[in-house]
Symmetry: C2
Subunit: 305 residues, 2 copies
Amino acid sequence: MTKEDIGNWFRNLQDNICLELEKADGAGRFHQDIWERAEGGGGRSRVIQGGAVIEKGGVNFSAVFGKAPEFLLQHHKVTDAYFFATGVSIVIHPKNPMVPIIHMNVRYFEMSNGVKWFGGGIDLTPHYILPEDAIHFHTTLKTICDTFDSSYYPEFKKWADDYFFIKHRNETRGVGGIFFDKLSETKSISLQDRFDFVLAIGNSFAPVYTYLMKKNSDLPFGEKELQWQDLRRSRYVEFNLVYDAGTKFGLETNGRIESILMSLPPRTGWVYGIENTMGEKERATQNLLKKGIDWANYVGNPSAS
Amino acid sequence: MTKEDIGNWFRNLQDNICLELEKADGAGRFHQDIWERAEGGGGRSRVIQGGAVIEKGGVNFSAVFGKAPEFLLQHHKVTDAYFFATGVSIVIHPKNPMVPIIHMNVRYFEMSNGVKWFGGGIDLTPHYILPEDAIHFHTTLKTICDTFDSSYYPEFKKWADDYFFIKHRNETRGVGGIFFDKLSETKSISLQDRFDFVLAIGNSFAPVYTYLMKKNSDLPFGEKELQWQDLRRSRYVEFNLVYDAGTKFGLETNGRIESILMSLPPRTGWVYGIENTMGEKERATQNLLKKGIDWANYVGNPSAS
């Protein structure tokens, strides 16, 4: 398994996910922008806008390499090194507020000093939390995790709760999912095992999300639900611009802005005091934006911390 | 001049500005929320929404005091101290894209170790840059500055160019204005002089902005201008959430979220590739989002750096 193999797998993953999303949407088509990085490598940004189900979505692939920038050298305490990084990043903003926003990232990093690891995460941000969707989502992730290592799901689920958290609102971004970083080879887990796990997560994206697209995209909604969607999307913007490590990293290292910020929603807004107009459905969602809900075993009485 | 005097002046400034804005708007009325800070002090948040000219605006006053929090003690290298901070913060988002967004902040800070200073800034963010408005705005500020000290305008204008800058876009937020911080007493400038200057800037807000409201709020606009307004507003969000020191400070110190984020626009959106649909008017604005334009002496041929 060379780094080229890993990059190719991720590129294929992008292709497959785009195909499946187009099929499920029925109308929208991805537009591709190919870009090159002056110092080495590049990527394929794919954006879909104005689809039947997807209002805006991005599925980005990149594989970049070259001399390690200063902050990497410092971090690894070396004076000279080469790095290679590849991954797929996805954010989908659906039109219908009853369909959740979804995000996934899978990535591989290696450096000429011998460091090699995988990272990633997938999380669901419903505008309206439908418990059955959160249960389905987490059960799917738990089943995959458990195939590899029984410690994965509890550990990575907690990691997601802590990571996808809007501190200044004291609320989670959504119903979470899993998050993991710097998974390298250990005595009992080979790098190939790590890769197999990351690929299994990557391959779960299309089935899990197209299921939710089909299930919810015909649910009725009106002006009030669109207003609430604006609010929930504005929280998404707050998370991404204030806390998201990938966004920060991209902005600080002069990455391709259009690709980094493709995660931001196509329409949103901050209306003062709109929280006070919340109805029962909105309040129910707000009350579930908490860490520590055991969604895989949820029975309507959350053990939230 | 006690700190209570300064607080009272700022409170009056809030009252006057709200009155003048309501008068110029003709329809909108400010809604007030009074809040208290557990550790000492509080504020009056005033928000206007859905006016005839102003779509959303906030004019906030606060005066807080108490034991200095840890980061202040560390910064000032003391183990124990009391602080007092008061100020007025304003952001106005107009409905008509031909009326510019405006921001002003004036503030006073003192600590029991003897530190006393004023800070502040005012800057204009046109959706469409009309050079005559930028000239009027900067000439007004320069005239006030020059009354106090001939070094003020060039120094504070450059400070604003550097501060109100969206690094990841390599563009300024708008046409700038002035920015200044930690203006304390010097041999030749008393603290009263500093305060007089800050008040003069504060008092210029209502005339300078109501002038622009009246001048531009009847200019025609359509769907295309609203789309461009969305884009310009989304840049405003990027600046405030990624770079703005006041916002960062508020979010990190557990401030009143609704008051801190009242600066964010009521409607916005990130549409991928919309920059590519720019027409001549939009391109002209984009080309003027640069540091170093000498707006007070602008003759249509900017000396931009």
